[in-house]
Every structure is written in C-alpha cells, then in structure tokens.
C-alpha cells in the first residue's frame, strides 16, 4: 500500500440527522499516512459523529471522505474503530471477542490466537481471556475493545475516547504501547480524547472542534517524544494551555 | 298465554334439512301448541346427547348409534319419536371398481367423514349384515368432502348419506354404484331422545312438542317448495333454493315409512331398533345387551 493510499481526508463535511439542526458543518481534516491526529472538543460538539462519518458508518449530508483518492461510501475493513462504548458480544469470551474481526473473514489460526493473547497481555487482561464480558470491569471491557481493534493491524485507526475508563498508570502504559504499535505499522490514527495532555503527548496534530466545526488545528512539536518525560516538557505544557484556551470560548451551554 | 320452553339439541348446525324446525319464526308450529322452541347446534349425534345431558337442551335430535352408546354408558334415556324411520346412509363406489353389494367391500378401503360420524356407524351396520367386521376393510377418514378421494382413487368406496350423494351428483360425481344400508338393516336415522326423568316429569309438554313437530314435518312434506324458500334465509347452508328442495324432498322421504303410513308420523319399528342394538353388541361396539322395548316409549306420539 502506498503512502498516498493511506491518507484520510474529510472535505467540507456537513451532517445533520433528518429534520434536526446540523451537527457537523464544513468540517475538514487531512491525515497523511502515519499521522496521529487527535480531536478534542467539548462533550456533544460532534466528535463521535465526525468519527463515524470518517469510518463510513454515517453518510455526510454534504462533502466527502476520501481514503487515498477514493471516496469512501461505506464502512471499510481498512479502518479499525474503537467505539466510545465497548460494544462487546455478551455471548462470546473475551478472547473470542478479540478474534471476531479475524473470524469474520477467515478461520482463526494458532498464530491469530497467540497474537490476540499478546494484545490481551498488552492491555493487561490476558488472565481473563476465557471470561465473558459481563464478568469484566468497565475499564477491562474498554481494553478488550481496544485489543479487538488492533488485532487486524488495520492501516487506519479511529478511536473514540479509548482510554476514558482506565486509570492513570494503565493509561500511560497504553498510550506508549499504542504509539509504539502505530509507529511500527505506520498506522494513520484519528483519536478522540477529552484529556488534553493525552492529545498533546500522542498526537502529531491536534484539532479542536466546537459546535460541529473545526476551529483550530495545531501541529504538535514537543521534542524527544518517545520518552515518557515528554509529557512534562514545557513545550507540551504550553501546547496544552493553548488547546485549552482554544476550547474555552466555546458557545458553551454549561452555566458555572 | 305463557309458552313452555323446549330446546332441541341438534346433531348439526341449523342446516336446510331441518327447515321444519328452523321455520318456527315464520310458521309458528310450536308456538301454536304453547311451546317456545329453542335449538342448540351440535357436532354429531353424540354431542346432541351430551348437550342435552348438560342441561343446555331438553330433547336430543340424535341417531340410534349414539343412543346405544349412551345407554351402554349407563344413561337412562328414552326415545320418544322416530324422526327419520328410513336409514339414509349408503356406500358409494364408482362403477367399475367391482363393488356392487355389501359383500364386495371385503378387503377394500372405504372413506368415512370421521371416526365419530354416522357414515362410520352405519357402514358397520352394513358390514355386520354380511358377516364382515371392521377388520375386514380399511376405514379411512376423509372429511366431509368425501367424494374427492373416491374420484381420485385414494379410496375404493365411500360411506355417505342420501343428501351427500345428491349433492355429489350435482357436482359431477360420475356413474356410481350405491349400496343402501336401508336395504339390509333399516335402522332409523334419527330419533328424539330425552332422559327418563325429563320424560316422566314433562309428559304434557312433550306431547304438545311432538304434536307441533309432527305438524311441522307434515307441513314440510306437503309444502316442499315453501320450505325450500324459507331455508334460504333460515338455514346456514341454504343459499341455493333448488338444492334445498332436493334435500328437503329426501328428508321428507326418510321421514315416512310403512309404519308411519299406517300409524302416523313418528312411530317406531322397535324390532329394527333392537336388531341395530344387537348388531352393535355383536361387534363389540357396546358391552351389554340393550332392551329397546324399555327404551322406546310411544305413549306421547300423537295419534
């Protein structure tokens, strides 16, 4: 697959549910191959909607989504999606849930199984592989859904607040693992988070959404990225402040 | 004047062949004798008796076979009027199947309406008269549209009634041989049955009831055309007046016999009823001998 083919572009996307006010307006995003693009924005501003459009799950009312040069007109298997809710199948074990994306397209081999177990180990729940989702804690469930998205090594990853339900330490580990994996595979990532520090730590670009529009886009340039310390780099803290400021003047409905 | 209520438990729904009963609102035969007539439909002669026993009706319009069975089960019943002294059942086979007499039925497959229908009971009478039993033939349930399987060759012959045969012929039943049960054992088709207790307690009412019934039967014999017309509105199956007439004429024939011509409508030949009971006993259809002389009471039949 060429680099060009692994680019993801949203061109002036509008979206509205039939008979309702528009949710997205003129939203454009452009991710080059290997970009780790974070999307931040206040709750309800349209991040999940944007992600679903980028995935082909929703059809924009105007504008279009391109994968490489082709216009996306439905969900594509090239895209891995981590939903905001874990969306696990109750009647399948954790391991089988992780293997689902594979088992839908070919029979599962021992290698797949080993790989799934590795991913479960990565997210810290390999001990629970034979359990069922209803026996897992909230954070454990969301980690299973993360492993499921990673198991096919898709060239694109769309992630909707994947770490919202896990603790600070696990979160840092997962961030590092995710960075390592996506860099190794050259994955193009669009990542929604409410944690600005997380965005700045992970992203090559951060976009700020407000009421359905993308109002700000920053390239992140914190040095010595790979080390955990880069989180506390002054440049990182400065960029956090900048994003926070960009978020603040939202047409907020929150009355303090 | 206060009317006495008498309800008949019929063996069927309100069909055109009992137009003399259904015509009550138009003709008032029963009202004229101080009786308010009721009718409850049934699903066979047995249900007529159980409906009567349940208290839903006073008089059962039923067949001797059901009467035998009920007597055998220990019910104390009396037969008070011979509605159709002529047996109307038959066995029908297309010409060319080699079935011309009852004896030819041996080894054949014969259709009946259902396992509790008159066609089956009367087929058994017929077989008994020629020394055959149920085991010598194959009895096949075919439902009311029994001529279909005969035409299609799924059964060799089918047990039917005079009216069934009549309608079958109207609908293009080809050439057939007909073996009439009446020719070997002319067990009546239907009789009025009441419990002995009701009989003892309500003789005057029953007398008037039978008087009225006989009037209605006589009217239907005398005025088949008028009855056929009334059947169009009063019966549930009488949309075609011409067919009604054919059916009513057949019922009028079956309501009359040698005995009724001499003694009057409704009179019994007790011996035939006794022969029928004996045939049932011989075939193991009932378990004890019945004395029909005790069961048939004639004192209420109008002269």
């Amino acid at each position: 697959m060429t680099d060009r083919a692994r680019a993801l572009t949203l061109q002036q996307v509008d979206f509205a549910y039939p008979g309702e006010a528009p949710i997205l307006q003129d939203a454009s995003l452009s991710l080059a191959q290997g970009d780790f693009h974070c999307l931040v924005g206040r709750s309800g501003c349209g991040k999940t909607t944007l992600l679903k459009i980028a995935a082909g799950l929703l059809r924009p009312t105007a504008g279009c989504v391109r994968i490489g040069d082709t216009i996306l007109d439905g969900p594509s298997r090239q895209i891995g999606f981590v939903f905001q809710t874990p969306s696990l199948l109750d009647w399948r074990s954790v391991l089988d849930n992780v293997l689902l994306p594979i088992s839908l397209h070919r029979s599962v081999t021992a290698t797949d199984r080993a790989r799934a177990m590795d991913l479960l180990a990565l997210v810290g729940i390999d001990a629970h592989a034979q359990r069922y989702p209803c026996q897992m804690s909230g954070g454990q469930q969301s980690r299973v859904s993360l492993a499921r998205a990673l198991v096919t090594e898709p060239p694109f990853l769309l992630m909707d607040e994947p770490f919202a339900a896990v603790d600070a330490i696990t979160r840092e580990d997962l961030q590092n693992d995710l960075l390592r994996l996506t860099r190794a595979q050259g994955t193009t990532v669009l990542f929604v988070t409410h944690d600005i520090a997380e965005a700045v730590y992970l992203a090559s670009h951060v976009s700020v959404m407000q009421s359905g529009r993308i109002t700000r886009s920053l390239a992140i340039d914190v040095p010595e990225r790979a080390s955990g310390d880069s989180r506390y780099h002054p440049q990182a803290i400065r960029q956090c402040e900048e994003i926070k400021a960009a978020l603040a003047p939202a047409l907020g409905t929150v009355t303090p | 004047q206060d009317l006495d209520k008498v309800t008949i438990a019929g063996w069927s729904k309100p069909i055109s062949e009992i137009t003399n009963i259904l015509a009550e609102p138009d003709k008032g035969f029963f009202k004229a004798h101080g009786i308010e007539l009721g009718y409850v439909p049934g699903t066979g002669g047995g249900s007529a008796i159980t409906n009567m026993l349940s208290g839903a009706a006073d008089v059962a319009f039923t067949d001797p076979a059901s009467l035998y069975q009920a007597l055998d089960q220990g019910e104390d019943l009396v037969a008070i009027y011979n509605i159709y002294p002529q047996n109307v059942f038959n066995v029908v086979a297309p010409v060319g199947r080699g079935i011309e007499t009852a004896a030819d039925l041996k080894g054949k497959t014969i259709g009946v309406y259902s396992l509790n229908s008159g066609t089956r009971q009367n087929l058994l009478f017929l077989l008994h008269q020629v020394g055959l039993t149920e085991q010598d033939v194959t009895i096949q349930v075919t439902g009311l549209l029994n001529f279909g399987p005969v035409i299609q060759g799924q059964v060799d012959a089918t047990a039917a009634t005079d009216t069934g045969l009549y309608i079958g012929r109207l609908n293009g039943l080809g050439e057939v041989n007909v073996i009439n049960v009446a020719d070997s054992l002319n067990v009546p088709t239907d009789v009025f049955v009441v419990t002995r207790a009701y009989y003892e307690a309500n003789k005057p009412i029953l007398r008037r009831f039978l008087q009225a019934y006989r009037d209605s039967a006589q009217w239907m014999i005398d005025n088949p055309q008028e009855a056929a017309k009334i059947a169009v509105t009063r019966s549930i199956n009488g949309r075609d007046e011409a067919v009604n007439l054919g059916i009513i004429e057949l019922r009028n024939l079956s309501a009359q016999s040698e005995t009724t011509r001499t003694k009057g409508l409704g009179h019994f030949d007790v011996d035939v009823l006794q022969d029928g009971a004996d045939a049932f006993l011989a075939q193991g259809l009932i378990s004890s001998a019945l004395d029909m002389r005790r069961v048939v009471v004639t004192d209420l039949i109008p002269e």
Binding site: - | V40, P41, T43, A56, L144, L145, I167, L173, V243
Partner: protein
C-alpha cells in the same frame, strides 16, 4: 412501498390466473378445487346481497372479545408467573394442558360450564390465544439489562414499579410479538369455537358449506377470514408502531 404493494397484488392476480387456467384445463372437479372466478363471484354476491355480513359481524365480535380476554389472561399470567417463581413451577402443567387438550373434544364441557353461544366461543378463543402472549411476556420481562435493574433497586422502586416502569417497557417489543401471534390465533379460536358450538359466524358457515360440498363458498369464506385476519394484524402493527415510536429499531442497517 408502493412497489411492494404492487408486487403483492400482482402475485395475487398471477396466482389466481394460474389457478383459474389450471382448473379450466385440468377439468378438476369443483368438489375439490373451485375456480377463482367462481369464488370471487360467490364472495361478491355474498357481500352485496348481505348474506355474509351477519356472519362476519358475529365472528368479528367473538374474535375481539376472545382476544381481549385472552390477552388479559396471557399478559397477567405472564407477569404473575415470571414474578412469582413458585407459581410458574406449580401452574405450568395446567397451562400446557390448556393448550394441548383439543378444544374440539372439550366442547360438551364448555357447554356445561358456560352454556351455549357467545360466552363459550369467547372463552374457547381466549384459551386458544393466550399462550403466545404469556410466553412472550415471561421472556420479555427478563430483557431489562442488569444495570437498569440495579438502578431501580437503588431508587427504592417497589416490585410493582419495577414491573410497570422498567420490565414491561423494556420487554415491550417481545410482548408485542406475542400479541401479533395471539391476535391471529384469536381468529383461529373463534372459528374453532364456532365449529363446536356456533350456529352462526364464518366458522359455522365453513362447516355448513363443507356439508354441502360447496367448496366455492368455502373458499370465499377463507378469503373473508383472511381479510379479517389481515385487518386485525394490521391494527396490532399500527398499535405496535405507536407504542414503540421512541425506540431505536434495527431497521437502519
């Protein structure tokens, strides 16, 4: 929508035509299979000369009353048996007996208990149609997710409230599937009831027509019953749509 309706009508006409042609060329006895043209003629006549209407009215009333009674019983027992486990264990053999024992053979007992006419038929109808609703109610009431049940426990909801405000609304789609089956069985029940003890109505007329070997009329009656079934079914669909108007359905996919 219109395409589907068109297809439906087209199929109906097409089948009718094939059937008509087959009847004509095979010369099959009208004792077995009537010609569709003759059936429609009888149907038309029955509707215009008013002969069919009283029967339709009777069967309609029986179906409606029987369904009303049956659905109350089915729903109430469904709720009762799923709330009171002991009751389920004790009563299920009787409920099964009520279903498998043939109503046709029970006729006389119904007459002893409920007399002749409407009451008996309504009760037979109710008896035939309550079971699907009962089973679906039992299953539907189980479908509220665990977290919502925990919520109601936290809020100190009484058992009745949990039932009314959570379990029934959550189970409504399943319960309504039971209603769809029950309403159809109610028609079956009314017809069977009339076989047993009716002197009037579409079921009684079918038996009478059969006795006269009038297959043409019988098929005309089948059409009437089917249309009545479609009417009742369509009404439950409309009721369902209204009751579930706020739910997400799987229809988008």
């Amino acid at each position: 929508m219109t395409a589907a309706r068109l297809a439906s009508i087209g199929l109906f006409l097409g089948l009718g035509l094939i059937w008509e042609i087959w009847v004509t060329i095979s010369g099959v006895s009208s004792l077995l299979v009537p010609a569709p043209s003759a059936v429609l003629a009888v149907l038309w006549q029955g509707l215009t000369d008013g002969f069919l209407w009283p029967h339709i009215r009777v069967t309609f009333a029986e179906t409606l009353l029987g369904f009303a009674l049956g659905s109350i019983i089915g729903f109430a027992f469904g709720v009762l048996l799923s709330e009171v486990d002991v009751l389920r264990r004790v009563l299920w053999p009787y409920i099964l007996a009520s279903q498998v024992v043939p109503k046709l053979a029970l006729g006389p007992i119904f007459i002893v208990w409920f007399g002749f006419g409407l009451t008996s038929i309504v009760i037979i109808t109710a008896l035939i149609c309550f079971f699907p609703l009962l089973e679906n109610t039992v299953t539907g009431l189980r479908s509220a997710p665990a977290d919502q049940r925990d919520l109601f426990r936290m809020l100190g909801a009484s058992r009745l409230q949990t039932l009314l405000r959570l379990k029934i609304p959550a189970g409504l789609p399943v319960i309504l599937a039971g209603v769809r089956v029950s309403v159809v069985l109610a028609i079956v029940g009314a017809v069977v009831g009339e076989f047993i003890s009716g002197g009037q109505g579409l079921g009684a007329s079918i038996i009478a027509a059969q006795g006269m070997m009038d297959t043409t009329l019988m098929f005309a009656l089948f059409i009437v019953i089917t249309v009545m079934g479609m009417l009742f079914y369509q009404l439950t669909i409309l009721a369902e749509r209204w009751l579930l108007r706020r739910r997400q359905t799987g229809d988008e996919i």
